[in-house]
Symmetry: C2
Subunit: 589 residues, 2 copies
């Protein structure tokens, strides 16, 4: 039972509350949010930090006429609770009814679907410009923080917002943390401003041309309201620098900010995970162990992350063990790719670990900074494939955009032995940018034929010699290929050929030319990503003028939201049974 929260169902209700009731509401939301997070998991730290700000925003401004944009949007929980989706936070039966990011499909109060950092200021500039030319007068507010200022798009936005000459209100949520620590000179200035209560002459935001206001305690409701009231309906660009405490009000989250950035379901009293994490060997931990071992003997090996060190398996202890050889550039993936090109040119051996969804922030750097310059850097792509993340964080596009860039060798290992063989080669060669698609989370092992080098021309691995049908099962879908081959053989007496293509970016023309000669009539490609621009289409083009048929399997070109991997496999005809059935259909034609 919450005295105030129980009475609040619409934004109108909120506006009828007294200041004291609003303060109490914040505390009730905090307790309820903690309860809900303990069941669902989620972005604990940033959401606990931003409760007062969110309540104040909705108290002062009139959403959806006034537009509030949440950068990254993983800190939108209180916003959702206040804008028609309370049950998702108070009714256990509906805890999973909303996503963890803003989504216009859920509510008119969610202006954009957002999951990547550093975009809100630019989006807000657009809203403000559109508003101005239409002669409208609402407020445009962007809430930015949690390390997102280090991304280039945020700076491009700041630079242009400052010059906009009309209403735009940027709230910089300064919790002195991104996912891990903050990095870069920018944060020096934020610290100086915090230490001087915003009074330092040297002020990045004023330097750019913003009006500037400092909120010392961004978890003090009244202090926030005062700042917002002052700038409501402003006619010029404003930055409100708001200091919040990540994890506010929950001691475990306040103490260990990094681990509580995102947490699986936990016990509130002890802060321990509800479910013991199953101890499996993951590519993350294996990668970290491999790199740490190498780095110990070769000081030229440098591991790089853009704000997500854990993706590479680099927990705090490892980071401290290699202060010079582990670099966190902050959320700035583009910079990371340009930087590894520079490191390689200086004779270093850089390894950049990044999730598939964030690799797409680096297309130009992959092409211009890295590939055009033949820089021998290695990029490890994690969370690639169907079912990783929802529409904002999908992992299915990386082959489609990165493997079509000249000079890049895009490798798709099928197991841990092959993965480390490729990584070892990538580190020791000096000619190619190499991207390696990490094949899932849990490491798998198989009796694989390794190469001593993975340069071009591509050499595929012929795993099983068969007839009639040849299955090219790329990377993380190799296991699927094995199952398809097994079913074809066991249930239909078709002994298919099974091939591990190894390369997402190139064809083994010798092997592909030989397949028809050895009596194959149907070539099947399996890839764990979109087919448009992907691996299978290259095979289809190769055989375009041949009599053999090519059947491509992979994901459809679409954004999918709240669809499990299993549902997607079924939708795309990617279960072994569906694939076998489709193959049989083709053979009967």
């Amino acid at each position: 039972m919450h005295k105030v929260l129980d009475r609040i169902n619409t934004l109108k209700d909120l506006k009828d509350l007294s200041r004291n009731e609003l303060v109490q509401l914040c505390e009730e939301i905090r307790q309820q949010m903690l309860l809900r997070l303990s069941v669902t998991g989620g972005h604990v730290g940033s959401n606990l930090a931003i409760i007062e700000t969110t309540v104040a925003l909705h108290f002062i401004f009139d959403s959806p006429v006034d537009k509030i944009i949440f950068d990254v949007s993983h800190q939108c929980y209180t916003h959702k609770l206040l804008t028609g989706r309370k049950a998702a936070y108070t009714d256990p039966a509906r805890f999973f009814s909303v996503s963890g990011f803003t989504d216009p499909a859920e509510s008119e109060h969610d202006i954009f679907s957002i999951g990547h950092t550093s975009t809100a200021i630019s989006l807000a500039c657009g809203l403000a410009k559109g508003r101005d030319v239409k002669g409208e007068t609402y407020n445009v507010i962007a809430l930015v923080g949690d390390g997102a200022l280090s991304g280039g798009e945020a700076f491009e936005g700041l630079n242009n917002a400052a010059a906009l000459g009309s209403n735009i209100i940027l709230i910089i949520n300064d919790n002195n943390m991104s996912i891990a620590e903050n990095h870069g000179g920018l944060y020096q200035n934020l610290r100086l401003l915090r230490e001087t209560d915003g009074k330092a002459e040297c002020n990045l935001f004023r330097a750019l041309g913003f009006d500037y206001s400092f909120v010392r305690d961004g978890n003090n409701f009244n202090e926030i309201v005062d700042a917002l009231e002052k700038f409501k309906d402003t006619n010029h660009p404003v930055v409100i620098h708001m200091c919040t405490v990540k994890g506010k009000g929950y001691r475990f989250a306040e103490t260990d900010k990094e681990n509580w950035h995102y947490m699986e379901p936990f016990d509130i009293a002890t802060g321990k995970l509800q479910h013991e994490s199953i101890s499996v060997e993951t590519y993350e931990t294996l990668t970290a162990a491999y790199l740490a071992n190498k780095m110990g003997t070769d000081p030229s090996i440098i591991a790089i992350t853009a704000g997500t060190p854990k993706v590479l398996g680099f927990e705090k202890d490892l980071r401290e063990q290699f202060p010079k050889q582990f670099v966190d550039v902050g959320i700035a993936e583009g910079h990371a790719v340009a930087m590894i090109s520079g490191i390689a040119k200086a004779g270093g051996k850089p390894v950049f670990g990044v999730s598939s969804s964030f690799l797409q922030r680096t297309y130009d750097q992959l092409s211009s900074d890295l590939a055009l310059n033949h820089s021998s850097a290695v990029i490890l792509v994690f969370f690639a494939g169907i079912g990783w993340g929802s529409q904002t964080h999908m992992g299915v596009f990386d082959v489609s955009f990165a493997a079509n860039i000249p000079n890049i060798i895009y490798l798709a290992p099928t197991c841990k032995e092959e993965y480390f063989s490729m990584l070892e080669w990538g580190l020791n060669q000096m000619e190619h940018p190499v991207i390696i698609r990490v094949p899932g989370v849990e490491a798998v092992s198989r009796d694989v034929a390794l190469l001593s080098e993975y340069s071009y021309p591509a050499k595929y691995e012929m795993v099983e010699h068969g007839t009639t049908v040849a299955i090219l099962a790329l990377g993380s879908f190799f296991g699927l290929g094995e199952r398809v081959r097994g079913q074809l053989s066991a249930e239909h007496g078709i002994h298919a050929t099974l091939i591990n293509p190894r390369y997402a970016s190139a064809l083994d023309q010798t092997m592909l030319n030989a397949l028809p000669e050895y009596g194959h009539q149907l070539i099947v490609t399996l890839e764990d990503g979109v087919m448009d621009g992907g691996f299978g289409e290259k095979v289809a083009r190769f055989y375009g003028t041949s009599y053999v048929k090519v059947l491509n399997f992979g994901a459809k070109k679409e954004f999918v939201n709240h669809v499990t991997a299993e549902e997607q496999y079924f939708r795309y005809h990617l279960t072994p049974e569906q694939i076998v059935s489709d193959i049989l259909k083709e053979m009967k034609k």
Copy 2:
């Protein structure tokens, strides 16, 4: 005859000169550079501005041990002259022997091949980091300017360079101009620093953590040398803020900085072009006229550029005519794409004009900010196709990366009537992000079947009904398709079907399904871009399990340098004769 220049052949020669001789050398280079530029054309303004800085850099530092990186690198002419390539600037017979950008293939003094802006600081960070872990001690210098600071990658670089903790020297060439005017809050701070001789407390670079030095006259050789000497072998990150005059020493270029940023061959005495520009109707001028006309009656239409207003045909007079509806965000393409998403969400009608090569800087924004949000913005892609720019500015990748993003409708008009029909529809619809690939420079006209809407499902235009062979000739290659069809018919009696696909991003499945039914046995695709990830591969996949053959034509996945469009057509089998020959070969198989 140049008294000093004639004696200079190596960097060693340079270091033996007295200060007075060095000053004279700068002046001799300026005269010689002007002479050479009048013959070859090139980036006049920025190269005249940076002569003293470049001579001073090579006088003080020891290239190639010390690494000097030129951002964008279009201001590298004096650098090339001083580093073994003097003849390319002094011997008319060799004027065209070097490119206008740094290129490691030309010289060990060119560290990177660079053509896109805002990358040098990040590349320099990488060099510095690689140097440090290897225990080496050379200087890393990045020369950045001409508007390049507004790009997000530059800021990501600044933010990280400041935190590097070792030698990195950034020279900010502040000529108060990018290609057109500078835009954004950043330039307010540069102005403040200029007006206070670098003494203002509010200093962006100091705010980020750099040591900072101000050079009031960046065309005064001795002043520059003093600043460089002070920081040579520094052990920490330094910014040298150098004020130069764009076009220095040539009155026409100093006066009209925008037009003299890049100039075709000209007469030195009069500043007039050597060759009267042939007056043809271009898509640029037609686009500007169309938009200006629309903007006059609809204030919600907003034209946007990222630092290259002329690409959209917006010369200064038009920009001044529409101060609210024409937005130059500076060199910040990512911001531009996010901004148009915001404008569309606010009910505006944004049109972003960009060259193909620079569109690749926006992959993540195209996907996350625009397509995921179904924002109804229009992007016009200029300079797309084979033969635009050299390896740093190629226009062949845009379909491969952008047309494979979900929700984006990527249209490829064949003529001006179709182009404006698509643009008109794009502006008036409210559901889709629409990209239109401008089909070349010179406008062509044809009797085309227009649609009232270009949404999905895709509907291709059946231009000529024929038999046996069907040619799908996309966008700017439609004319090529007509010629191939003509030759097949006139010389070989084959009356091929000719199709204008209209869409680069989707298939007209109805029409494609009908082609085999109507007796077509060979489907030919022609596209003015790389085949990997392109349009033709989608067609090949579609017909993968059909008995019809598919033959794809397009560019190979590679970076090409100093290769004319004609040579590339020949290399890729894209002349009508080669295509006809390849088709005949297939038909005989």
